[in-house]
């Protein structure tokens, strides 16, 4: 695998247009390096860059299965394992997209009613 391909595969790790994003999220959640990720997928480390450059499967069930099957078939990996990894990775990626602040700062905010006395208005001083 060329350095350029590896570089681009790394560059798109946070781009949801690429499978790299879901794979990165899965690997992060499981604390896996490339070797660990390849093992989880039942594939070869050398194929990871090309796998990362694929488009993520479409969301509806029919297309999801077809896309997973196409990708798994190309790289000689198990559709079941790929499905598990991609589903988790996509969910984590969506969560990160919706609530990036929570992931970054670990800060939770909640709205509540303000029960304090309102400040006195002008001319009502007693």
């Amino acid at each position: 695998m060329s350095d350029a391909l590896n570089h681009l595969a790394a560059r798109v790790a946070s781009d949801q247009l690429f499978l790299a994003n879901a794979l990165a999220e899965y690997a992060r959640s499981e604390r896996l390096d490339d070797m660990g990720l390849a093992t989880a997928l039942g594939g070869r480390v050398d194929d990871l860059a090309l796998l990362r450059l694929c488009r993520p499967p479409r969301c509806d069930a029919e297309h999801f299965r077809a896309d997973i099957a196409a990708i798994a078939s190309r790289f000689g990996i198990s559709s079941t394992k790929l499905t598990e990894v991609v589903r988790r990775g996509l969910s984590l990626a969506r969560l990160r997209q919706v609530q990036p602040a929570l992931g970054e700062a670990g800060l939770l905010l909640a709205a509540r009613d303000d029960n304090r006395e309102p400040p006195p208005t002008e001319g009502t001083n007693s």
Binding site: S2, A4, L5, H7, L8, R11, V12, L17, F18, L19, L50, L51, L53, C54, R55, P56, P57, R58, D67, A70, I71, R74
Partner: protein
């Protein structure tokens, strides 16, 4: 690069059809050859800039396959031009940053008060992001393309332009005249197309 158009066309078509593996195939087919093309044609450029430019060109087509119009030329040609332009933009940006850093180091008014001619400013040269200029860029012949590339790089030496035009044997005055003629012709075409040049 997949220079045979049928091969490149099938890769591009798969990309348009939404084949999930097509993005990967597209990168495999075009990235390394594009990097090699930039290495050969812009040897003085920073290697990281060359790689970034090649990646940017590839990503632009993956993100929006419609940026390439098959009726205007081949995909390999489009990618080479897009990558060259992206490289020129990266270099221009870097030069701007460098100038800004220099200015911060030494606050001094420029002799020209910040004004420079259109020809002097590579920033004013067109971007491939502007679709209205694609036809002009595609229509450049091989020598004009090389001249255009030098202009984008900010080259100012007449000798460099004379070399690509094959007129290095002419007297300096004639070289300068001929180089100016070609540069003006290119700039005029971009102006007519609505470019910023």
């Amino acid at each position: 690069m997949a220079d045979s158009w049928p091969e490149a066309a099938s890769t591009y078509q798969a990309l348009c059809n939404g084949d999930p593996v097509a993005q990967s195939d597209f990168v495999v087919a075009f990235l390394d050859p594009l990097v090699m093309f930039l290495n050969c044609n812009f040897p003085a450029a920073d290697s990281h800039d060359r790689l970034t430019a090649a990646e940017d060109a590839i990503l632009s087509v993956i993100r929006d396959p419609a940026v390439f119009d098959p009726s205007r030329g081949s995909l390999p040609t489009f990618l080479r031009m897009a990558a060259s332009a992206d490289l020129a933009n990266i270099q221009a940006r870097e030069r701007r940053h460098q100038r800004r850093r220099d200015l911060e180091d030494c606050v001094e008014l420029q002799a020209d008060g910040g004004n420079s001619s259109a020809e002097q400013s590579t920033n004013l040269l067109p971007s491939f992001d502007d679709p209205s200029l694609a036809a002009v860029i595609t229509a450049l012949d091989a020598k004009e393309w090389q001249v255009f590339g030098l202009m984008r790089e900010g080259e100012r030496r007449t000798g460099a332009f004379a070399a690509v035009l094959g007129i290095g044997h002419l007297p300096p005055v004639e070289q300068a005249t001929e180089v100016k003629k070609v540069k003006d012709r290119i700039l005029k075409r971009f102006q007519r197309a609505g470019g910023r040049a």
